[in-house]
Symmetry: C2
Amino acid sequence: MVSSVSVIGKRIRKVDGREMVTGEAKFSGDYIFPGMVYGTVKRAGVPAGRIKSIDVTPANAVPGVVDVLVAADIPGPNLIGILPPLDQPVLASDEIRYAGESVALVVAESAEAARRGAQAVAVEIEAYEPILTVDAALAPDARKIHETGNVTFSKKLRKGEVESAFERADILVEGDYETSFQEHAYLEPETVCAVPGRRFTLYASCQSPFHIRGHVAANLGVPASSVKVIQANTGGSFGGKDDVATEIGALACIAAQRLNRPVMIAHERKESIVGSNLRHAARIHIKTGALKDGRIIAREVRVLLDGGAYASESPFVTMKTLIHAAGPYNIENVSVESTSIYTNKTYCGAFRGFGVPQVTFASESQIDELAEKLGLDPLEIRRINGLRAGDPNATGQIYEQSVGLLETIEEIAKRPEPAGRKDDDRHVHGTGYAAVAQGISNGAEGIDVTGASVQMSQDGSVLVGIGLTELGQGSRTVYALIAAEVLGVDVDSVSVRSVDTDAVHDSGPTVASRSTTVGGMAVHKAASEVKKSLVSMAALMMKTEGENIELRDGFAVLRTDESARIPIASVATAAYWTGFPLMNLAFSKAPEANFDDETHQGDVYIAYNYGTHRMDVRVDTLTGEVTVLNHLAAHDVGRVINPLGLEGQVEGASLMGFGLAHMERIQYVDGIIQNANFADYAVPSIKDRLPTATITVEDPNPTGPFGAKGAGEPPVAATAAVFANAVADAVGVRFTRLPITREDILDALKRGNHD
Amino acid sequence: MVSSVSVIGKRIRKVDGREMVTGEAKFSGDYIFPGMVYGTVKRAGVPAGRIKSIDVTPANAVPGVVDVLVAADIPGPNLIGILPPLDQPVLASDEIRYAGESVALVVAESAEAARRGAQAVAVEIEAYEPILTVDAALAPDARKIHETGNVTFSKKLRKGEVESAFERADILVEGDYETSFQEHAYLEPETVCAVPGRRFTLYASCQSPFHIRGHVAANLGVPASSVKVIQANTGGSFGGKDDVATEIGALACIAAQRLNRPVMIAHERKESIVGSNLRHAARIHIKTGALKDGRIIAREVRVLLDGGAYASESPFVTMKTLIHAAGPYNIENVSVESTSIYTNKTYCGAFRGFGVPQVTFASESQIDELAEKLGLDPLEIRRINGLRAGDPNATGQIYEQSVGLLETIEEIAKRPEPAGRKDDDRHVHGTGYAAVAQGISNGAEGIDVTGASVQMSQDGSVLVGIGLTELGQGSRTVYALIAAEVLGVDVDSVSVRSVDTDAVHDSGPTVASRSTTVGGMAVHKAASEVKKSLVSMAALMMKTEGENIELRDGFAVLRTDESARIPIASVATAAYWTGFPLMNLAFSKAPEANFDDETHQGDVYIAYNYGTHRMDVRVDTLTGEVTVLNHLAAHDVGRVINPLGLEGQVEGASLMGFGLAHMERIQYVDGIIQNANFADYAVPSIKDRLPTATITVEDPNPTGPFGAKGAGEPPVAATAAVFANAVADAVGVRFTRLPITREDILDALKRGNHD
């Protein structure tokens, strides 16, 4: 790793920003091909039951309808999912497990005709009593939603001896916490466009193209090499387009195969909410034992996740809650049990934060309660217990470097409180703190290999390809910066191509804040190989050794005489004609996770992002309205690649955590989502933008490019927690359930806890 | 190299054959995008002059016309070409050098409106006296077509002492030969489709996408990394789409940039003939000296190529004639001088055979003359002089392996003559022979590096990417077979992707019969790397060492116990989850050419394809009609990858040589092509199909995959030559000019040389 850098760390606008704001960018829905037809999915409409019959005749009679597919029309196994054994059908043929379940695809000359056709499909369902809560699912005589039962996944973590430690504790706090289902609410609903041919091309608004390729090919009954998935520009995903793009991608390709015509399937907003995964609702019980001096010596956590009808990412989310439930603290004795449960609701899966926001809210609430009981300042208790380099975390993993939690606490501590916080008759003020650690990379959840290619043309311009997707997080810009830094060229001469499964090795999913870290390392590695060719060529041209050559500012420069320099474009042209390869495909593999499956003790992640937030709020006691006056978000990101991009990530993730904490709640009645639209389901808008100030701590991470660590997820958890703590401080009542809406605040105030 | 193979050598249908014959294959003209507009080029219409003015007003007034571009609208240098210094404008701004010269681009809502617009553009040209022959161009006071003069390129080859050897010779023959311009006559005229965006995408019917990318980017004024060229399925090229796709690709992208709309430019047939390169017409003088025993001891050749208005590939074609003019013979003293000349005619460039057909016709005609004078059998004189392993060829290069010329002669010699050859009052019969050697790879003409990627999915299916284009020659099938052979899978599970400049290193042009040899080596190398991962994984799974594992028939098999086998799909899945990369990007670099620039002595090509043909003809003395009764084409191809594909190449190339020899002649009057359509310019049709029997000799080539050598070009030269010799044998007159049409034969017969 170089330490002196020239491009890294500058504030760079997103390389694809201009096309996004001008509307020039092409999204899946913009891929219009001659002869294209449109598909709409027919959904069950009841949360549980068994299909008795599907009559497609009325749909076929709708003008414009050209084809109707049911389960029997799927050439492959009619199965999708994340982990084997797969448990979700592309189209249900028998059992209905949630109301949004897909039972048929209607294809028509227009999207409108397809929707009318879908309405006309007559599905006769023998309804079952739906299982709508985790308690109902876990009841001894509960109907089994899947053959395997109603427990999707369960896992334990054991470190030390919790029971005996609780006995030694001076103080114990214990409590139950709850969080709601959350919708990803990306601007662009799920859309795919399938083009048939010698090979199938699928343009998809998606997050994990390789995953889609595998499932699409299997369900199409063709080899994976016959399917090419191209990630179109994607208007947000946040984990939400992993599963559903697989489903509608397979359907679009199957229809394209049958009709030999391009097929587009574009979800409407309602479908995007009811028919694709949500964030798991959680019930969390925590018991914490501490000594009088503030040291936490034991923590026990039980997490129950409502995962809805299918497994999706539940196993991984469950594991993530398991590992993160104890918080970013050095606690000698920890016991966690995390379980995800099947219910007859929309399936839950990946969502930015991946379970960490739920457990962090619970954990940080209880840390505040503990501090209060101990008479400690909230920052002080976090300072006492916070992980330092060399400390073992909940899984017993020890990092000797890049553990900047305490630095983030001190960054927060040294900031003055904002002015104008004086309470009046109507308004009360509060300040909250929260600390977070979030594991970077797939870690325990899977293999973590990413491929990237770097290609230099004869004019010295650079093309970067990678298997991880740009979802708005700015990863294209990060990759461009890394390649520019390594190759000594201007960032404007670097292009990052759209992800295309043909072009690069299966790089796994774009999740777990791994883009910058694991993806960035792959780009760094590939660029470094191209650099070798350039340096060798320049050395030949300058009649010197490679070690004397530096690539900088678009030139190959002789270290001993900086006036001796050749433009990189000239070096690249010469290298081409000399036969030095100017392209490399490299793979970065994260250090392997290595832990005991029984206790979950061991090395899990390649790094953690650590953070501390402070939030100052004013609550209007008449309306319950909360005004965030101040929001400090300090994170140890190892090394900042692009400060502007990092701020965007911190601000965006914070607002998402704010939505979870304050506004968003999927409302079910009898297993049917009542607020599947943005009129009834409120998400933060631009007017709710937080006054987030991003503070960065740079404690270089040896496993990331130039020392960087991912940063896209941790602020979600921190903000959800800090909001709860700030509001509790303001109104003097602790809330144990998210979201804490204006109504909840008014209720609490009415219950008289406020003077 | 393995010697025992299981897939290589089987007769495999083209992997993309089905889509081609069903019409499912998508060509450039099938890429229709919303908002697309159409471009038509306005051409000069006079062969030489200077532009005084261009008035685009009338064109803009044509309904549907949206834009008219002239030279001043080109952001970049307005220059294209193959080798620096580039000499061809995208749009002429000043001097007109040939009648097909592009002077403006009219863009309209429909192709028809664009054509009307192009007709309406008013170009005022001050006409010059055109220079229409090489003699006129070389006249001392000739006007200079380019500032550099009228000689495009000139090169000499010197081996031994020709003059003194001629003095020692027992017999001398000397003669002049001529060949005509030839049109590539591919089914699909040149077509490109440009799509603007963050990066430009150009779908092109083309042969060398990297070359196009560079020129398009330069003329657009953007970095090469901002342009992505995708080779659409290409309906033939034969060398003809190298230059012109650059010109119309740049124009389409510039228009797309100006209008922010997709732009298609599709040539009509006439434009394809007048506005893109042809095969060089040649004038060749040869003098050969031999001893009484038949041994040729000296040869002197002068080649004059009419290259038309721009350099294009003239330097390379000129070099190729230089190297091949002496034929596939071991001649101690050789002197060749090859020169290409500028004239005010359509520029000439790459065309299957690349100059070798012209010189082979001349050389083989003279060999027959010499044999006749020496009283030797035509096969015998070729047997006496033919190159053997260990012999130095014309450039002094010695191959110790894979020199199968003599074997091809013996294969021909042992075949009986066909029955029914008895002359009658009206019909005469003749038999001709010709030998050929054609260098494989770019060799002396440029660096020869090719990149290929091989990616295996978790289901064991394989995707091959490469930078060399499928133009109908069957290279996708060859690559699929090589990957299947290396990886032990069925060819059906291998897909070969379309070429896309993003995906692979600049692999140079798809020329010089280098696809199988140089491209195949890259695929072999990349596949072998993937194989290493698979073998390592299988060894782990079987608890053995890698050396005990073989990949075969879709399984990893234990060598010592063949019943122990794991499906490759299972190995691939395990390898993915273990983190073994299942993709590799490899580069094959041909051994470097190394020769003296003054004498052209040295190592030029990585291998030669050697061949001997025999043709038996019947000539109708009343009509001049020639019936080919028998055509034996024996070639040493090193190793046959796909016999069916090889036969297709030999048959197709032979028919193209037949067209050159018998039918095709571009007719100029005052610098204007008179027969720019398929009614007046006759190409061989399916009714002219030759009874070609492909005979293969396999003398493995150490520089090719599994020993293979390219085979797509040599039969053109051999057939052109063998036809001339067969007809000469039949009618008793030697023809010194190609094509030898029915009229030429009747003329010759009238001149009374036939009894």
